[in-house]
């Protein structure tokens, strides 16, 4: 099957486009959608077939429809942002145009964010921060695609995408923005599942320091030991042990114990 080649745009051009977007801020966002292949946009010369303008327009329409379901173009609430992020990650993960290694390129995500979905990026991140448009783990859409890659429980799971909504922003960032972890989907998923189990016990609000300590410990452990040698159950047990140790380090106790300690005046 031929690879669908996606348009690319350089980071320097993204910055210029972002400045222009800032100058137009407040104008009619629907009118801000540019043509799909403006000057400066390139496509790999060989290796597959370039995505057609019709295919790109269809992808844009899919994304615009999704954004509309979550309030676009009206300024989104936090709940709308979260809802859009989870749905968008699922859309990106399953889209035929995004099924090849083209999605590993920053300049492809830069194109999607500034050219194809520009007004939607600006709607989702109203501050028009350049790092939401440039390629990289903070790119408005690449970050969601990376999350979907890391947090996918697999087609056979009835709760395939539940982790997308379960993890806090901090937890997702700790996984996705560390290439040593995000690059290994099985390890990333095992960490996310362990986070989820731990958060159910101690509460999400107390997980930030725990996650940071756990991720650091896992990264160090994986330098001296190939964790992928472990079967699923052993890997899960190892991850739980790391989170347990991190909870102890930060004196985070299970919720019931905390309530008891508080009631006794010793918590």
């Amino acid at each position: 099957m031929s690879v669908v080649l996606l348009p690319r745009i350089s980071a320097a051009l993204v910055d210029i486009q972002v400045s222009e977007l800032r100058e137009r801020a407040g104008s009619d966002t629907a009118a801000d959608f540019a043509e799909v292949m403006p000057s400066g946009v390139t496509v790999a010369p060989t290796g597959g077939s370039p995505a057609t303008p019709a295919e790109l327009e269809a992808l844009r329409r899919n994304m615009a429809d999704l954004a509309s379901q979550h309030g676009y173009p009206t300024a989104p609430s936090q709940a709308q942002q979260a809802g859009f992020d989870a749905a968008c990650a699922r859309l990106l993960a399953g889209h035929a145009l995004l099924a090849s290694a083209e999605t590993l390129r920053n300049d492809v995500w830069a194109y999607l964010s500034i050219i194809l979905f520009g007004p939607i990026t600006a709607w989702r991140f109203p501050g028009l921060s350049a790092d939401r448009f440039r390629g990289g783990p903070r790119n408005a859409f690449q970050r969601l695609w990376l999350r979907a890659e890391c947090l996918d429980r697999g087609e056979s799971s009835s709760a395939r995408w539940d982790l997308l909504g379960a993890l806090t922003e901090d937890a997702a960032v700790q996984i996705v923005e560390r290439p040593a972890i995000a690059g290994d989907a099985r390890l990333a998923l095992a960490i996310a599942e362990a986070w989820n189990r731990c958060a159910e016990r101690v509460g999400k609000s107390r997980m930030e320091p725990v996650m940071r300590t756990a991720v650091k410990a896992i990264r160090l452990a994986s330098m001296v030991r190939r964790l992928d040698c472990l079967d699923d159950a052993s890997l899960a047990a190892e991850m739980d042990a790391v989170f347990e140790a991190a909870c102890r380090e930060h004196e985070v106790k299970p919720r019931r114990l905390r309530a008891l300690a508080s009631a006794l005046g010793v918590g």
């Binding site: 080649l5 320097a12 790999a44 030991r225």
Partner: protein, 298 residues
Amino acid sequence: MTHIAFPHLTIPAGEVDASDWILQDAAGRVSDLAAYLPDWDYGTDIVARRTLSVDLEAACAALGLDPAGTAFRVLVSVGTGEGSLPRRVRRYPSQLIKGKAEISIDLPGRTLSHRLRLETDIVLDTAGGQGSPIAPHESGARLWSDVVDTRLEGQEPRFPIELASFSKMFPGRSEAGALWMLHWAPGDPHQDFGGCVRLYVNSDSDDFSSRFLEADPLTLHTVMADVMTQMIDTTLANDGAADLLSDCEETTVGGQIRSWLDQAFPGQTLAAVRRIRETSPGSFRSQIQAAADHAGAD
């Protein structure tokens, strides 16, 4: 395996005989895995092969393990994608190594991008009796490894560089007349260096861009000095520079800046370097400039 302080003994390099990786494309053409793979695109499916031989008796002696009951496993992971560390890593099924292992990995072109990073590990499968308190005992303990990192497409240098026409990139703007421009966003030193830093070289200046592409030492030195000065100076201007840099991994922007600081100001504390920057800006820049001679833009 030189930068990690292992908590267990490892196999000395001399006890493993690892062949170079050999690549074969669909047309049957065979080549060594070089620093970059020219003429590669998504349509190029390749097979990577190598052999590994381990003297099990000697390896067990070095590890403090009884050969009876000790088994090793060989694992290969394939990394690909932009950045200092690969964006995506695929683990291939491991195999027990009984003296010699033949490794063959299919690499469909559509799954690769930017680079091909092949990491080979020999790990502990099961440990026989231990003759040393620091003998490896956990399944998966890394005992030996090597990594080969190859650029695909022949266009992705290790220091991200792009040749571009500044008159087209910056029409009507003053940057159009510059010879080069470093694109990076200060503020987050935890970002992956390869993924967020890019040096643009102005192709409108034939003379300069030719010198750059021909790796003229003086040209590279000058550009690298500017790159290093810019990134170090901007970072040190922040009062919290020490905190910012302390926790950065090697492959991040902060890790690279720390490495440059070590080269330019060996043995000096960050506070001392900041003092030089404030009291002797000329010396500060000269020392960075001198270090740039060794940094190279690859």
